[in-house]
């Protein structure tokens, strides 16, 4: 957005220079990607350790084996004649064989790494009771189907939140002490409540009391036929959850960024720019926003991470068919494979947030382009 850094030299535009920058940025991004991948692997491994302390993962696998084996034995005409005791003996034998084949008899350390691979690829087998809309019971299919609605809702909320908060913060930092400014400062504590909490109130007012907007869901049921109608229905349904997310974070963001801008607007070089007679708009952009942007983006990313957590309840309350509601349903039905899968997917989402932040950061922070270390910044 503010890519053209005019404080840099004109040489900035020379092709060679840009190429060198590009290479450095790519290297940095690659490095961060690797680090994050290792981090996610460790995180998922820890999750598996926690999950299997009570043997939950083992149980999932054993249950799957037992079910398929006993089905096979029951179906096999060869065993129809045998008594049930004999048949059970055969089943037990086969389960044992299968356990050996899949390595369930090996020590936990070895098994845990096997689980790590299945978890990282989300190959968690079949859900116990939950099904995807297309009828699949594979955990991966169920999860992937739910990812898009979550990304639509939260992606949109994030973009709106960031834009609104930055613009409002800049605006208020110029009107320090005005009534509006004081009102925002007073409203900042509202962010103590999570988004689902505001969701309840918005639902109470707009759906229950006034009846303007639907209680929940993503589109009407049955879904409209044309694209336009589908979009309009989606828009009507997204208003309340979207407002709830924004409402729960916006005032704190405006307040803290405004304070940050105020501190920076006292710097000498800003005074200097003012003295030069630059219009306040370009002072805001070049001298206040530009140097503070990396910090603000970091702050924003931390906010996003906490928002992902709120998603679970918000989606449940608004019946939004995303990952959060899936997790909620999995909890109610004790569908362990889906629960563990959700933890992994959320870990991926958090890592993705951090990764996107790294990319934005590399574009914003000149030190990365020039090649200085950022670790000790």
């Amino acid at each position: 957005m503010f890519g053209k850094d005019t404080t840099d030299l004109k040489a900035n535009y020379s092709f060679l220079f840009m190429w060198r920058h590009f290479k450095k940025i790519c290297l940095y991004i690659l490095k961060r990607f690797l680090i994050l991948f290792i981090t996610v692997t460790i995180g998922v491994y820890l999750t598996i350790l926690v999950a299997n302390m009570g043997g939950a993962v083992d149980e999932i696998r054993e249950g799957q084996i037992r079910e398929s084996v006993s089905m096979a034995v029951a179906r096999d005409p060869e065993f129809q004649e045998l008594s049930s005791d004999e048949r059970q003996g055969i089943t037990a034998q086969r389960v044992e064989l299968e356990r050996e084949r899949l390595g369930l008899d090996r020590p936990f350390i070895v098994r845990s790494f096997m689980y790590l691979r299945t978890a990282l690829t989300l190959d968690l087998g079949r859900a116990e009771t939950l099904r995807s809309d297309s009828g699949s019971a594979r955990v991966r299919n169920i999860m992937l189907e739910r990812l898009l609605p979550t990304l639509v809702l939260f992606g949109l909320a994030d973009i709106i939140l960031f834009t609104v908060a930055v613009v409002a913060a800049l605006f208020l930092s110029r009107r320090y002490g005005s009534k509006l400014d004081r009102a925002v400062v007073a409203l900042a504590p509202t962010s103590a409540a999570p988004s689902w909490f505001y969701g309840i109130f918005l639902m109470l007012i707009f759906a229950s009391f006034l009846g303007f907007l639907p209680f929940g869901g993503m589109v009407e049921s049955p879904p409209p036929d044309t694209h336009l109608q589908y979009f309009l229905s989606l828009a009507r349904h997204i208003i309340l959850p979207l407002s709830a997310i924004i409402l729960s974070a916006v005032f704190l963001a405006i307040y803290s960024w405004r304070t940050f801008f105020l501190i920076y607007s006292r710097e000498d070089y800003v005074e200097m720019a003012k003295a030069k007679g630059l219009p306040s708009f370009s002072i805001d952009l070049r001298y206040i926003l530009r140097p503070t942007l990396p910090t603000i983006v970091t702050n924003f990313a931390l906010m996003l991470i906490s928002m992902w957590m709120g998603a679970i309840v918000l989606e449940t309350i608004f019946n939004w068919p995303g990952l959060g509601r899936l997790l909620f349903r999995a909890i109610n039905q004790y569908d362990t494979p889906v629960i563990i899968g959700s933890v992994v997917v959320y870990a991926y989402l958090l890592a993705l947030t951090v990764f996107l932040l790294d990319i934005v950061y590399s574009l914003l922070d000149p030190r990365i382009r020039v090649g200085e270390g950022t670790e000790n910044a």
Binding site: L36, G43, A192, L204, V313, I331
Partner: protein, 448 residues
């Protein structure tokens, strides 16, 4: 240190919002203390578990009693009258052969604009073989007498008069609940106010047989906070939710901030591999999704609020806060007084605990206060997900019940609004104080 705190207390007086916040916190604290004293821990659990017999005499889904404070609203409260109370009349006449006749009159006033929710008789009969025989007559204020039923009763018989549909023909075709209380011929049914009376004419067939009866006319309003779908008084949960929320949030905030700070100090002081390891663990921890992990533990192991607390603290140790503290400790480490301490031969632990941490502790105070609301809401979040503590009544569990019973759809707003009000008040109280403290302890923010 004490000087700093004294100065902070002086300064906090300049922030009206902080004073307001402190008032909120203090009143919540007194409510918490009162609740713990008024309803002992074990009682709270038993009450909320709603064992058989505890909540028989409270209405289902009743609104709070203060609804009647609204001008023009006069909804029925819960009314009960017992044959053992002084208002009731109980006459026993011996009929010989061990038989006796027991006539009980249960009078009560009904002065409300609405109809009650249910009417139930609770009998308490003592006999060895032959059940007592009773006939019930309903007396309205305008002198009509309505025969309700004649039947034999068991020891703890319950007669749900409101469900006796065959009474309709004597009650202008209305359900007993309405028909028993309406003015005759009024359309739509209007309440006849005044003195009602139920007479129980009983025959007992044994020498020392006893007969007692209570009538409960369930109101549309009950208690300070209404009742839920299992007839439990919400006041119990809302009161007991306060100490739980405060204790949970306080312990979580203390546990996670103090440990984080200590770890950051250790990392900075020892440097090298220890510091690097701490930093890497922090990065891994940032990616661990805390709430899903708590959910996983809740499903697989235990839902106890204290287990959740332990997880919060464990996941909170290596939180993003380490980076902030680290930056501050890096400066503190270079301070001359640390060098002086080293020169006189102070050990590592001594320097950490006596010199480094106290220097940064004030920074912790506002953060700590700001963190509390987030933990109060975290408990509610877990409860809404159905992972509330299995025993204790909490605000979140009330919200969860309300959500599961579709309270908003059916217009039982009080059920959602009361716990929500307590949650937001707590959140606001701590946040307001925390924001003011933040400005006091972080001089850079002070002037803004």
């Amino acid at each position: 240190m004490p000087d700093q705190i004294k100065a902070a207390i002086q300064e906090i007086k300049n922030y009206p919002s902080a004073i307001f916040g402190i008032c909120i916190i203090l009143s919540l604290f007194s409510l918490a203390v009162y609740s713990v004293i008024a309803i002992p821990y074990q009682d709270a659990i038993t009450l909320w578990r709603a064992d058989v017999g505890i909540w028989d005499r409270t209405p289902r889904n009743a609104r709070p009693a203060w609804f009647n404070w609204v001008p023009g609203v006069n909804l029925p409260q819960n009314i009960s009258s017992s044959s053992q109370s002084p208002q009731a009349k109980k006459e026993i006449t011996d009929l010989g052969n061990g038989m006796s006749r027991i006539v009980i009159e249960l009078p009560f006033r009904f002065d409300y604009d609405g109809f009650p929710k249910e009417i139930t008789l609770f009998f308490d009969a003592e006999y060895t073989e032959t059940r007592p025989w009773v006939s019930l007559v309903w007396h309205t204020p305008d002198g009509r007498e309505i025969d309700i039923v004649e039947q034999s009763i068991r020891e703890q018989e319950r007669l749900r008069i409101s469900q006796m549909e065959d009474l309709r023909e004597n009650l202008f075709g209305y359900r007993p609940l309405i028909g028993l209380f309406m003015k005759p011929e009024s359309e739509p049914p209007d309440v006849k106010k005044g003195e009602y009376k139920l007479t129980v004419d009983g025959l007992v067939f044994e020498e020392d047989a006893q007969l007692d009866v209570d009538i409960v006319v369930y109101g549309q309003l009950y208690g300070a906070a209404g009742t839920d779908h299992r007839r439990r008084s919400l006041a119990v949960a809302l009161m007991w939710g306060t100490p739980i929320a405060l204790a949970f949030a306080f312990l979580a905030a203390v546990g996670s901030t103090l440990t984080t700070m200590f770890i950051a100090a250790v990392g900075v002081w020892f440097g090298g591999i220890i510091d690097a390891t701490i930093q890497r663990i922090t990065e891994v921890n940032m990616i661990l999704p805390a709430l899903p992990i708590m959910i996983m533990v809740g499903i697989l192991y235990s839902r106890s609020i204290w287990v959740m607390l332990a997880i919060i603290i464990i996941l909170g140790i290596f939180s993003a806060g380490i980076k902030t503290y680290r930056a501050v400790f890096l400066q503190v480490k270079e301070a001359p007084y640390i060098e002086a301490a080293r020169a006189y031969g102070a050990g590592n632990l001594r320097i950490l605990i006596k010199y480094m941490i106290p220097k940064v502790l004030p920074m912790l105070v506002p953060q700590f206060v700001v963190l509390i609301p987030s933990f109060v809401f975290l408990e509610a979040t877990l409860a809404i997900l159905g992972l509330g503590d299995p025993l204790l009544p909490t605000w979140g569990k009330v919200l969860n019940d309300a959500h599961q019973q579709d309270a908003l759809l059916s217009g039982q707003y009080y059920w959602v609004l009361l716990p929500a009000f307590l949650l937001i008040t707590t959140g606001f109280g701590f946040a307001m104080v925390g924001f003011a403290l933040d400005r006091i302890f972080n001089p850079r923010l002070k002037s803004y």
